[in-house]
């Protein structure tokens, strides 16, 4: 979780990613941010995040991103 928070804070240092749960819905992160996050997650966790995983539910909060990463690591 800390790694994910670090990646997110690297993009928007002024956002409280621990409590925010509408990152995509409130347009806090955009499509460029999402690609950047995916690139970092691929490196950090050695996973492949396919395009079909890019849905608001998976990127609306740090917790949602963490859950997606865990699921993909298990597969």
């Amino acid at each position: 979780m800390d790694t994910i928070l670090e990646i997110l804070r690297g993009l928007h240092p002024d956002i409280d990613f621990e409590s925010c749960d509408s990152l995509v819905d409130d347009k806090i992160i955009d499509s460029f941010d999402i690609v950047s996050i995916i690139s970092d997650l691929n490196d950090e966790f050695d996973i492949t995040i396919p395009a079909e995983e890019i849905v608001p539910e998976n990127f609306n909060s740090a917790k949602a991103i963490y859950a997606m990463v865990e699921r993909l690591m298990e597969e």
Binding site: S31, V35, S39, P50, A51, E52, I54
Partner: protein, 530 residues
């Protein structure tokens, strides 16, 4: 058959009447028959294209569905015996089988679109190269006629197929239902590009007409007519005068043309979409919204999130993301990070995917270089703005202007003019000519010319301006009111007398102030040619 003709109104009334008379289970079939009748008005021979798209998409989606079911059942049966690696390898093999069907179907459908839309563009370029090389040989143009709505229904059905491939929802088992999704008549002229999961329930439900739906749908249609007939068709006369007489109308007229074209395109496109959404709403079918007050955007990137949203979200979901997170792109990113540096390496997937998407967006709008340049210039502005964001933030913090009303107003006006400037490429339809016209803004600018009778020479009379000014103000007012939620819902909370007075006034405005007759061309929606 165009939305703004009496023939369409009679057609729609007939469809509604029979729809209501039929038992619920037959209503979607009637909508399919009506859609094909509607399509026949644009030429019976074009039916073959939309039918091929429907049928091939149906076939491919059923194959994808079968493979997915086969995979699920195999994995269930062998849950205990397969190792993690074996399971992974099996899934990869099945995904590859699915990909073959997906690619085959996409090649066929995008191939049809490409051949019909881009063959003459390719021939023109080849002829240009042959001429430049001194050859006298020239290839003959094919002059294919583009079937109605092909750019829209191809994207809509391919979006459906990709969603089935991604297992977002199962394939539709009834080929006629998929045919209705592809051909439902309100969306054929200029979209919006709908998503299957958002439409399927209401599209096939055959819901009874309700007073609420009919009333809301009719209001939306009326508002669309107002935008198209009172504003767009009237202003288009002035725009045409400016862009077709480039020797006479230069300097300040180019700016006037940009401004008028911005309003024309907005009124024309949103008007057409209002009619499409309104017609669907009568049947209780909710189309996705295509605009969110785009002229109030503070940046070009934001503008594109609010203008033609169904197309930009299509490009984002089915093109930008798959390209930018694809394995080759991420490998390239890694390579660049290692050999060139972190800064460029991180940006490579975003930059390349953006360039590809904007090139395609340009060429989707039209088979001509002006559209390609227009698309790539949009991309350039968005990427430069993205890179300048830290600089802007520093500027905002230092001058403490970030949230002030006047600075936001400046941002909105800057975006409006920047977009109008780029859109001029669509007006003159020639890159060289457009840039020559841009240059006259600086070399032949004479503001006073407009007030010495210049505005009266553009094909509009004093009466036209008297109609246009309050009509555009009303458009602005409705947009501003829309920030607080649906305007129609706000209106429906008003007393009955006020409501009906507003409806009646708009109806009268369309009837009396609509641009009909000689000199006006209400025959086409601008976006229908895309």
């Amino acid at each position: 058959m165009l939305f703004t003709t009496s023939r369409f109104i009679f057609f729609l009334l007939g469809v509604i009447l029979i729809y209501q008379l039929l038992p619920q289970k037959f209503r979607w079939i009637w909508l399919l028959i009506s859609s094909y009748i509607f399509y026949c008005f644009s030429g019976i021979k074009h039916l073959i294209y939309i039918t091929v798209t429907s049928f091939s998409t149906y076939l491919a989606s059923i194959m994808l569905d079968r493979i997915q079911k086969e995979q699920a059942s195999y994995l269930k049966e062998n849950k205990e015996s397969l190792s993690r690696e074996e399971r992974k390898a099996y899934k990869a093999a099945m995904k590859s089988r699915q990909r073959r069907w997906l690619v085959l179907c996409m090649l066929l459908n995008f191939g049809i679109l490409a051949v019909l839309k881009y063959t003459d563009f390719m021939i023109a370029n080849i002829n240009g190269i042959l001429g430049a090389a001194g050859s006298k040989r020239q290839l003959a143009f094919m002059n294919f006629v583009l079937p109605l709505g092909i750019s829209f229904y191809t994207f809509q059905t391919m979006g459906y197929l990709i969603d089935v491939y991604r297992e977002k929802y199962p394939a539709e088992k009834n080929p006629f239902k998929l045919a209705l999704f592809t051909s439902f008549f309100p969306q054929l002229i200029q979209g919006p590009i709908n998503r299957f999961d958002e439409l399927k329930e209401s599209l096939f439900a055959g819901r009874k007409l309700t007073i609420n739906n009919v009333s809301f749908g009719t209001q939306r249609i009326l508002w669309g007519f107002f935008k198209k007939l009172v504003i767009a068709d009237r202003l288009l006369v002035a725009v045409s005068t400016i862009i077709h007489n480039t020797d006479e109308y230069q300097g300040v007229y180019v700016l006037v043309g940009m401004f008028f074209y911005a309003i024309t395109l907005y009124a024309d496109f949103t008007g057409g979409i209002d009619i499409a959404i309104g017609v669907a709403e009568i049947f209780g079918i909710p189309f996705r919204e295509n605009f969110e007050r785009p002229f109030f955007s503070k940046s070009i990137a934001e503008y594109w999130r609010r203008w033609h949203m169904s197309l930009s979200s299509w490009f984002r979901d089915y093109m930008f993301y798959p390209i930018s997170v694809s394995k080759p792109m991420l490998d390239l990113s890694k390579f660049c990070r290692k050999h060139v540096g972190d800064w460029l390496g991180k940006r490579i997937p975003i930059y390349l995917a953006s360039i590809i998407v904007w090139f395609t967006t340009g060429i989707w709008h039209g088979a001509a270089w002006n559209f390609v340049v227009w698309g790539l210039l949009n991309c350039l502005v968005i990427l430069v703005s993205q890179e300048c964001t830290p600089l802007y933030e520093k500027f905002h913090n230092r001058l403490k202007v970030g949230n002030s009303f006047w600075y936001r107003m400046f941002q909105v006006l800057r975006t409006f003019w920047l977009m109008s400037f780029l859109r001029t490429l669509d007006c003159y339809q020639n890159v060289g000519l457009t840039f020559r016209m841009y240059s006259t803004i600086f070399t032949r600018f004479n503001l006073m010319e407009l007030f010495r009778g210049g505005l009266m020479k553009l094909g509009l009379t004093r009466y036209d301006y008297i109609v246009l000014v309050p009509a555009v103000c009303l458009l602005l007012l409705v947009s501003l009111t829309g920030r607080k939620g649906s305007v129609r819902k706000q209106l429906s909370a008003k007393p009955v007398m006020v409501r009906y007075l507003v409806y009646f006034a708009i109806f009268l405005a369309v009837l009396i102030l609509g641009a009909y007759g000689v000199g006006y061309d209400s025959s086409q929606f601008i976006y229908s040619r895309f």
